[in-house]
């Protein structure tokens, strides 16, 4: 038996591990015992067993008492001694002045929390479509229509063959997919009839007809079914997991049949060929249900041309995928030739079409076309908020720098002693940097708490779906570490340099005063903070002024107390029968108490019109046409919407020819059609070129804002069509809304049996257009308040230290007869001047910024000088209150105490 045999030694790793955790005072005997046992075992039971027992015993020895003892004992390496000393000094410094520490840490924490929340919002808003594979190579093809060199329409939708033809004609286009958007336009009800019990039916909005290529191209994640083939056959339907659950519960969905019915009399019975995982919320194209496009090719005789091969109707969202690194500009340059090839007739009509490629990732934030799949977001708030986030964090860091350097007086003696005892400057810098790391660390911990508390209201304000958790946002963690490292260094470095530069002799003599340059810098930082605050206040006030303006502006029609009901998806299958239903429904409603007016309409304000057509005055030369919104409604539409007739008359049942010939136009259409005054156009003929129709203008209505006030009120023409009836508009008395709703539902069920009853209020619907502005407004105001709070925290600390520094001066002044008021004035004056300067600096900058923001609105308020005044007063007041806590205290102090100080 040889002890030199390597195998005869206990496992090295176990031994190493034991030494790591075992306290020094027991290590020797434990190791000895272990080794002795190892030898015994090795002799009796063999070497392998001995090693295993050794290993196991070490693992089982990993107990708390050994570990705790290790930490208690001071037998550590030199480095950790330094480290623990830094920690001790830092904690002592923090504990010594709790108010200061609290201000510092909470200021930083609020700043960081604010920045994290904003960042989460920004990263969510910019994450749209990124989950799609190769999203950077996928584009949507939009269609711009021009007539006589004037843009008529720019649509997100396109001709059905645009995609496939691009793949055929251009080698760089490698794939296409298109979707026919009907769910958002027509009323679609999908029913599961074959289950037990009552048929399960739901109205569907997130529903599209899709080509087979949609599933793979848009990275739809299939749970069952084959993404490549699921939508290639007619009468196949693919649904989301949650939709499947709604219809079939826990039963398997594959192969079940769902029947689609809509208000265009379509009736399609489709088999489920796939179920996909619910789509993430960060996509502009949200869908729960997809039906294969071949389903509609057989709808009627020429449906194939209508839905697949013809450049006739332009209502397909078209996506293409290009080869990586394709030159998009070069590709777009080839489109005019392609359009000439497929639509040679355009030239004769003096019309021009243009295809544009929109990167799919940019659609959510930049695209504002007609027929968008959903109301897209705005890039403006993203930029604004990002800037605000940066500023908030900087303000918080500035606070730290300010407070740390202003406290230098406190620490000067410590630095002096340390230097006398032999500390090197580098070591002192390290110590103060360590302090800033610690403070930043505590701040980050605290900011987690703030974020967690703020999360519920944040979801509500920002509109981010609750499933998108901030904690699982990897970018957030990266940003956080950057903030931590960068912040600790940036905010720690200056104080560290300043504090470590003190001359020991002067600090110990007690003659030490803050350097002139330090004061200058501190003033600069205060100015920066309050300039930011003032700018944010002006911004907030301006945004909310614009919002108020938009919501109280005269839209040309009345939003209040109007209930809107969409037409029924399942109605009588004959035109005549359905028209009777429409009339009956309205007549029954008119009889209800509390109902003021009822009308059917082809439009509802707040929703882009489906039809835009070319109109000209009869006397204007052919070819000179003017794009206008064209919509239809019945006799009561103008009255129900509260629109004003400024010339002529409304549609009337007293004129039997009205349904065939009459047209109403809006004020802005009058001059386009070649007339000077609204009165002049009455009884003149206008030609609706796109409809191949003409009409006699019987009246002129005041312009109204069909869409958000971001855009100009469009010139429009109304034709009388009582049966267009896409919507029923019901104006009710304010106090009887609940009863009216009940009555409407009852009549609905009586007239349109089998349709789910659904309604919305016109004002809510219309104001939904301002959702992103409203989010912007609330985020803007919240973060301005945050910035001000952080700034004030800093000011509070700063004023406390200024007052402390001037203790002696105050004492002397009071002895010589200064009043409390006089001392208060003396202490506040400096800050007030700083804040005034900050405001003056902020004004031109924020004026420029907000002015350009307002330019985005066609109808906007002005930038009010009063707003700047208010911002100044607010900042001054808040600052004065903040510093008064300190200044009043110092001013009231008994001078004897003050003079005894030091």
């Amino acid at each position: 038996m040889s002890y030199n045999n390597e195998m005869f030694k206990p496992p090295k790793f176990a031994r190493w591990f034991l030494r790591r955790f075992c306290a020094e005072r027991w290590l020797e005997e434990i190791e000895g015992d272990l080794e002795e046992e190892f030898m015994l075992n090795a002799n009796e039971k063999g070497i392998g067993k001995a090693r295993r027992v050794y290993f196991w015993t070490v693992l089982k020895s990993f107990r708390f008492y050994l570990l705790a003892e290790k930490f208690k004992s001071g037998h550590n390496k030199n480095k950790s001694v330094m480290f623990s000393n830094y920690l001790k000094i830092t904690l002592r410094a923090l504990m010594k002045n709790k108010v200061y520490s609290l201000i510092n840490i909470s200021g930083l924490a609020i700043g960081i929390a604010g920045a994290l929340l904003i960042f989460h919002y920004v990263s969510y808003e910019t994450s749209y479509e990124k989950f799609i594979k190769d999203s950077e190579d996928i584009y949507r093809v939009s269609l711009q229509l021009e007539q006589n060199g004037e843009q008529v329409y720019h649509s997100a939708e396109n001709y059905p063959p645009a995609g496939p033809d691009m793949v055929n004609d251009f080698p760089e286009v490698i794939d296409w997919a298109h979707l026919y958007n009907m769910g958002s336009k027509n009323n679609v009800v999908i029913t599961y009839e074959e289950g037990q019990g009552q048929p399960v039916k739901f109205k569907h909005r997130k529903f599209l007809y899709a080509s087979a290529s949609v599933l793979p191209l848009l990275s739809v994640e299939m749970i069952s079914g084959d993404a490549e083939k699921a939508l290639s056959e007619p009468f196949t339907i693919v649904i989301s997991e949650s939709t499947a659950k709604k219809y079939f519960g826990d039963e398997p969905a594959m192969g079940k049949r769902l029947r689609l019915r809509d208000d265009d009399f379509n009736n399609e019975n489709c088999a489920v060929t796939g179920v996909f995982k619910d789509r993430p919320s960060n996509t502009h194209l949200k869908f729960d249900v997809l039906i294969s496009t071949p389903t509609i090719y057989g709808r009627y005789d020429r449906a194939m041309e209508r839905y697949k091969t013809g450049y006739v109707r332009k209502d397909f969202y078209t996506y293409i995928k290009v080869r990586p690194n394709t030159d998009i500009a070069a590709l777009e340059a080839k489109f005019p030739a392609m359009l000439d090839k497929y639509m040679p007739q355009l030239k004769d009509r003096n019309a021009k079409h243009t295809f544009h490629l929109q990167p799919i990732e940019d659609i959510h934030l930049t695209s504002k076309l007609a027929d968008e799949a959903e109301q897209n977001g705005n890039s403006e708030p993203i930029t604004f908020l990002s800037i605000i986030a940066v500023f908030i964090v900087i303000i918080a860091w500035v606070n730290y720098i300010n407070l740390a350097t202003s406290r230098s007086l406190d620490r000067a003696r410590e630095v002096g002693i340390r230097k006398v005892l032999g500390s090197l400057r580098g070591q002192l810098i390290r110590q103060f940097l360590f302090e800033s790391v610690t403070v930043n660390f505590f701040a980050i911990l605290l900011s987690f708490g703030i974020v967690a508390l703020a999360m519920p209201s944040f979801y509500q304000i920002s509109g981010i779906p609750e499933g998108v958790s901030i904690w699982s946002n990897q970018l957030m963690w990266i940003l956080l570490s950057v903030i931590f490292v960068f912040g600790s260094l940036v905010s720690g470095f200056y104080p560290a340099i300043v504090l470590s530069s003190f001359k020991p002799v002067s600090t110990l003599k007690g003659k030490f005063r803050n350097s002139g340059s330090g004061v200058f810098l501190r003033k600069g930082l205060v100015i920066f903070q309050f300039a930011t605050s003032a700018a944010l206040i002006v911004g907030t006030l301006t945004v909310s002024k614009q919002m108020n303006y938009m919501q109280s502006a005269d839209l040309g029609f009345d939003l209040e107390q109007t209930i809107v009901v969409e037409r029924a998806a399942i109605a009588d299958t004959t035109r005549g029968g359905r028209n009777r239903q429409i009339t009956t429904f309205q007549e029954q409603l008119r009889k209800q108490a509390g109902v003021v007016a009822v009308a059917s309409s082809g439009m509802v304000p707040g929703k882009k019109l489906r039809f835009q057509g070319d109109v000209r005055g009869y006397h204007q030369p052919q070819g000179e046409v003017h794009p206008m919104d064209i919509t239809g409604g019945d006799y009561d539409l103008i009255e129900t919407l509260g629109m004003k007739i400024i010339a002529g008359r409304n549609f009337s049942r007293d004129f039997p020819s009205d349904p065939d010939t009459s047209v109403l136009v809006t004020r802005s259409a009058v001059s386009l059609l070649g007339f000077e005054n609204p009165e002049d156009i009455i009884n003149k003929t206008v030609v609706l070129e796109s409809f191949g129709d003409a009409g006699i203008v019987v009246g002129v209505v005041e312009d109204y804002n069909h869409e958000s006030l971001r855009v100009k009120a469009a010139p429009s023409a109304f034709s009388l069509n009582p049966f267009w009836a896409e919507y029923f508009l019901i104006r009710v008395e304010e106090k009887s809304i609940p009863q009216a709703l009940e009555a409407i539902e009852m009549e609905w069920n009586a007239v349109f049996p089998g349709n789910p009853f659904d309604y919305f209020f016109l004002d809510e619907f219309y104001n939904y257009q301002y959702r992103s502005e409203q989010q912007f407004e609330s985020m803007f105001s919240i973060f301005s308040v945050l910035a001000i709070i952080i700034g004030c925290l800093g000011l509070f600390g700063l004023s406390a230290f200024t007052a402390m520094q001037k203790t002696k001066e105050i004492g002397v002044r009071k002895v010589l007869g200064a009043s409390v008021k006089g001392v208060f004035y003396m202490l506040s004056r400096e800050f007030m001047i700083l804040i005034l300067v900050a405001n003056i600096i902020a004004w031109p900058i924020i004026y420029f910024v907000m002015n350009s923001w307002l330019q985005g609105f066609e109808y906007r308020t002005s930038l009010d000088p009063l707003v700047f005044g208010i911002a100044l007063v607010i900042v001054l007041m808040v600052a004065l209150i903040t510093i008064s806590f300190q200044t009043i205290k110092s001013a009231k102090q008994n001078p004897v105490e003050a003079l005894r100080y030091e």
């Binding site: 027991w26 005997e29 190791e31 000895g32 002795e36 046992e37 030898m39 015993t57 020895s61 008492y65």
Partner: protein, 109 residues
């Protein structure tokens, strides 16, 4: 009394130490207890019990000699303290008291 309570295993170890006189250390205690109770015990359990008993004041210790088998490491020899002896006696008399109060017929079952 809190902290001086003797657990079953602790009592065993304490008794063994008392029995081993000058020879009580990790390995010897382990072997003795294993031999007498016929169960396998991990050395770590012996160590933690010994240190606990020492902390409670039942045991005292000093470092012993180093041997080659131990890789040149010294062993810690444990002795029972008078307090330890007292606790053992108390534990024993407590048991005996209870034993004595058990009615005879119960034990004859």
């Amino acid at each position: 009394m809190k902290g001086t309570y003797l657990g079953e295993f602790e009592e065993l170890v304490l008794l063994t130490i008392a029995m081993l006189e000058d020879e009580g250390y990790g390995i010897s205690v382990k072997q003795e207890v294993e031999k007498r109770t016929n169960r396998t015990i991990n050395l770590s359990a012996i160590h933690s019990t010994l240190y606990r008993l020492e902390k409670k004041g039942f045991l005292n210790s000093r470092l012993g000699e180093a041997t080659k088998v131990r890789g040149g490491k010294r062993k810690r020899i444990f002795f029972i303290t008078p307090f330890g002896v007292k606790s053992l006696k108390e534990a024993k008399s407590l048991r005996e008291e209870i034993w004595n109060s058990i009615p005879g017929y119960v034990l004859q079952q």
